[in-house]
């Protein structure tokens, strides 16, 4: 197993997947606990559409995807439609709209289907050192923000009304959380594709939720299951000649199923 990870391209893939996997699993805990999985799906789709637009116009796809994602995040956080459009309907409209626009942009882009495939599935094996540096910087920035403001993020996620009465600016804090989420989603899609980033945002957090009995343990179990899936997924994809992203997702799902049975067994044992 170790020999595979001596190959330079596998080392880059491992490092990049570990960085995205750790960030995705960590932020995913908020997504799952705040019951906003559809939010992350919509943001991921909007980010994809932004990159598709960049391919069409010849812009930098990472930067364009990031800008479009951040605009979407601001829109969702500020809710300019007020009570007239229910929040989940707004997310649904954004999701299908971005999906359709992404396909339309790619259809008219020079490389067409190849780019679409790349955005959907990604190819973590072709990652460059520059992309690793960018991911590393993002990892540091997002990590520092979340370490410093853990109390605030978790309190506002749990009880925004109480937080507001204590003087917290709930919208501003949510915006900061969504910004970090948008950053990770848009950079993650460019590197690993929408499938893998969405999987990292949902599956490890649910695994953590099934196994953990304390709040902080959800984060650690989510990150550990994500890292284990990265190592296992890359290994099996190399050995069995399978695409890396879907193989990592398959390992994530296996770990999720194991944790489900462990929880069932534990619940029976404890009555």
């Amino acid at each position: 197993m170790v020999e595979i990870f001596r190959l330079p391209f596998m080392q880059y893939a491992l490092l990049a997947s570990a960085l995205i996997g750790t960030l995705g699993a960590f932020l995913g805990v908020y997504i799952v606990l705040k019951r906003m999985v559809f939010f992350s799906a919509a943001v991921a789709q909007i980010s994809t559409a932004g990159m598709a637009l960049a391919f069409l116009l010849g812009f930098n796809p990472t930067l364009t995807g990031l800008i479009v994602t951040m605009l979407a995040v601001v829109l969702f956080a500020l809710k300019p439609s007020g009570e007239k459009i229910p929040p989940d309907s707004l997310l649904g409209i954004s999701y299908v709209g971005a999906f359709a626009l992404g396909i339309l942009f790619i259809a008219k882009a020079a490389q067409g289907a190849e780019e679409l495939q790349h955005l959907l599935q990604g190819n973590i094996l072709t990652i460059t050192p520059e992309q690793i540096y960018l991911l590393g910087a993002t990892f540091l920035a997002v990590g520092v923000i979340h370490l410093l403001f853990y109390k605030q993020f978790i309190f506002i996620a749990y009880d925004p009304a109480m937080a507001q009465t204590q003087g917290y600016h709930v919208t501003a804090w949510n915006l900061l959380l969504y910004f970090t989420l948008g950053l990770v989603i848009s950079l993650g899609i460019k590197v690993s594709g929408v499938l893998l980033i969405f999987a990292f945002l949902v599956i490890p957090a649910v695994t953590g939720l099934l196994l953990a009995r304390k709040m902080k343990h959800i984060f650690s179990i989510a990150i550990l299951s994500s890292l284990a899936s990265v190592v296992g997924g890359l290994y099996f994809s190399f050995r069995l000649d399978l695409p890396s992203g879907p193989t990592i997702v398959a390992v994530l799902l296996i770990l999720l199923m194991i944790s489900f049975f462990v929880k069932k067994k534990r619940d029976v044992f404890h009555g």
Binding site: V32, L33, R35, G82, E83, K84, L148, F149, K151, Q152, F155, A157, Y158, D159, A161, M162, A163, Q164, T165, Q166, G167, Y168, L209, A212, R213, K214, M215, I218
Partner: protein, 256 residues
């Protein structure tokens, strides 16, 4: 003690185009024990949201007077239990500690003072032994005590409770109301509580605000709790009985 803490001046509260209540005028005095009572959907929680600053008035003003040293009065908020998502695996101690977060401030760690205040609040509510139990595993009454402890950990000047007896059995309802009365009487807290249980609230509060279909009446218990007044408001026969100093309100078809 008798100075206003909060004052509604010709306030209209609305969600989008739907006006819930208009022309609201009332002061809330220091040391008040005010019960806001009315049927579901009457706008009780809307008034609470306005006091908490979550909902801005469409018209008029809500004046919050500053306390000593010109600081804003601290609010201790006890939400309806159902508002909190039990998917979060917080222990009772962690939930109560949240009441201290604002005092701790941004970028600072939890201090020993915050741990002490959290423990004090747990002891006051008689739930110290539940500190490490998951909030989701508690009974309704224990959850309510936890949320009151969290509000008290914030060292509030005003305790605001939203339906504190909702979904509790009669014993738990009375013990929660006794507890709230204790904090009002012995710890000199101003208390505002919202409930649709007129019978439960009537025996504890000093003043009552009655709400129904945009109509708002506020006064002392004796002013508000008259048969004629309640009958007009609820449009059903009402009888008020006093037994050993306890008020019992009977509604519907009354025999005897």
């Amino acid at each position: 003690m008798n100075h206003p803490l909060i004052e509604f001046k010709d306030v209209t509260l609305a969600y989008g185009s739907k006006v819930v209540i208009s022309g609201l005028n009332c002061p809330i005095q220091a040391g008040d024990f005010l019960g806001i009572v009315g049927p579901n959907g009457a706008g009780k929680t809307t008034i609470l949201k306005a006091i908490l600053g979550i909902l801005k008035p469409r018209q008029g003003k809500i004046i919050k007077y500053n306390g000593e040293r010109n600081q804003q009065h601290r609010l201790g908020y006890v939400p309806q239990r159902g508002q909190l998502d039990e998917i979060f695996p917080f222990t009772v101690g962690e939930v109560v500690m949240m009441g201290r977060y604002y005092q701790i401030g941004v970028l600072r760690r939890i201090r020993s003072l915050d741990r002490t205040k959290t423990l004090e609040a747990l002891h006051h509510l008689g739930i110290a032994e539940l500190k490490d139990v998951l909030y989701a595993d508690l009974s309704g009454g224990q959850k309510q005590r936890t949320l009151i402890a969290r509000a008290l950990a914030a060292e509030p000047d005003i305790l605001i409770l939203d339906e504190p007896t909702e979904g509790l059995d009669l014993n738990s309802q009375l013990s929660i109301m006794e507890l709230i009365k204790h904090f009002h009487d012995d710890h000199h807290l101003t208390v505002i509580l919202v409930s649709h249980h007129l019978n439960v609230v009537a025996n504890y509060v000093q003043r009552i605000a009655l709400l129904d279909q945009g109509c708002f009446q506020i006064g002392t218990r004796d002013e508000i709790l008259t048969e004629a007044n309640l009958q007009q408001l609820y449009d059903v026969p009402i009888r008020i009985k006093k037994d050993n100093g306890q008020i019992v309100i009977l509604s519907g078809v009354i025999h005897g």
